[in-house]
């Protein structure tokens, strides 16, 4: 009698003889373990055929190449251009101080508005007011902590998330600020235009100038922040 393993494999490969087919059918009907083994092996065969026939290795080669380019592109250019970059920066600083007024105002954070927010309860409102005070006093570490708590408690209130992003900029945590502002900049709330502007600032600070330009260029000409965005855009071009 043929071993069960071979019966199963022959069945899957469709090479069962008439005699073996009879034995297979009997076992399949009467032996629960055999039936489960058949089902498992059919599934394994399908998955293995699918996976082993794919072009995963070729894809991985391209992914690795793209990763190397992405990573070394940054490192090499940073190293290669470090000296001329420092020289250029020195010249720019001199030129800037001698011939142009400071554009520091473009990077300044707005005043955080004191108000009772939608759906707030007393404790929440008090916390928000504490955040307002800390933010406007430039105690960004404190305002970040409070706003993060508020945002965690209710992430549907975009006002918390928006000011959290600004507060993170105040703390010079630009990576975190980017993550906080990005969803708002890509949404449709009243904070969208301003979020794009401050996201632009975070990107400038992170050295991602091209992405910053893209953000700033997307600001609607009818937005209040538009003129400021235009100036910032000019200053980084």
């Amino acid at each position: 009698m043929k071993p069960k393993d071979e019966l199963i494999q022959d069945y899957i490969d469709k090479v069962l003889s008439a005699e073996d087919k009879e034995l297979f059918d009997t076992l399949y009907e009467s032996d629960n373990e055999f039936r489960n083994a058949v089902k498992r092996q059919i599934e394994m065969t399908d998955l293995l055929t699918r996976r082993l026939s794919s072009e995963e290795e070729a894809l991985r080669a391209n992914l690795t190449e793209a990763e190397t380019k992405h990573r070394t592109g940054k490192v090499i250019s940073w190293k290669q251009w470090l000296t001329p970059l420092i020289a250029a920066a020195c010249i720019l600083i001199v030129v800037k101080f001698v011939f142009f007024p400071s554009d520091k105002a473009l990077y300044e954070l707005p005043e955080m508005r004191s108000e009772i927010v939608r759906g707030s309860q007393n404790n929440e409102a008090d916390q928000y007011e504490d955040a307002v005070k800390a933010f406007n006093d430039k105690d960004y570490q404190k305002s970040t902590r409070i706003l993060m708590q508020l945002h965690r408690a209710d992430n549907t209130i975009l006002q918390y998330q928006f000011y959290l992003g600004l507060s993170l900029i105040g703390e010079k945590k630009f990576d975190d600020a980017q993550m906080s502002l990005l969803p708002i900049a890509e949404g449709e709330s009243v904070f969208q235009q301003e979020a794009n502007y401050y996201l632009g600032i975070a990107l400038v600070e992170l050295g991602q100038t091209e992405q910053a330009k893209e953000r700033l260029s997307n600001i609607d000409p009818s937005a209040k922040i538009y003129e400021k965005a235009k100036k910032l855009l000019d200053s980084i071009k």
Binding site: A37, Q41, M44, T45, A66, Q178
Partner: protein, 189 residues
């Protein structure tokens, strides 16, 4: 069809330029997310590559459809993969301060999760396959790709009958290992 489907096509077609575009546009976001959740830059890039390979396999299923932005989908896959990796490393202190990044506005997440679970199952099967002896691995890999088993037998210096016998044994061994694996046990496989 979602306009971001083009990124899926880049992967399916193994389009070099397109893949570089994906890295330019999304790599830093993934790396930032991993860095903020106890990982390094290297972890971030590893997770990104593995997630893109998973997306490639998911996209090969006929019923797979991208219903959100590619970015939201990619971050979802990376997040799940990174959480699994952290569990493996027994480092369960994961912050969720930026959980809103993963919010997807429609109910497509459930469908995505089904596809992800399927690909994870395949990944584990491939890991189990790697634990078999070299001869078994070679026989299974070659027999799954080509149907011409006489040719495979000849190229391996075996008779056709012996190849079939070995293949059955190897597949049975694999089946037993799969049956004993915690993932499949947990899923009643």
């Amino acid at each position: 069809m979602h306009s971001d489907q083009k990124y899926i096509q880049f992967l399916l077609q193994n389009n070099g330029e397109g893949i570089q575009h994906i890295y330019r546009k999304f790599a830093d976001k993934v790396v930032i997310m991993i860095r903020r959740n106890s990982g390094s830059d290297d972890d971030g890039f590893d997770i990104l590559q593995e997630s893109l390979v998973d997306i490639y396999h998911m996209a090969k299923y006929k019923d797979f459809q991208l219903t959100t932005t590619f970015e939201a989908f990619l971050l979802l896959v990376c997040k799940r993969k990174w959480l699994n990796e952290l569990k493996k490393r027994k480092n369960k202190e994961v912050t969720n301060t930026e959980s809103y990044v993963f919010d997807i506005e429609d109910d497509s997440q459930t469908t995505y999760l089904e596809h992800m679970a399927l690909v994870e199952k395949e990944n584990i099967l491939m890991e189990v396959l790697d634990t078999l002896g070299e001869r078994c691995q070679e026989i299974i890999k070659r027999c799954m790709v080509s149907k011409n088993q006489e040719k495979i037998a000849a190229s391996l210096g075996l008779t056709y009958a012996y190849l079939r016998k070995k293949k059955s044994e190897c597949m049975a061994k694999l089946g037993e290992k799969v049956k004993a694996h915690p993932f499949f046990k947990a899923n009643n496989r």
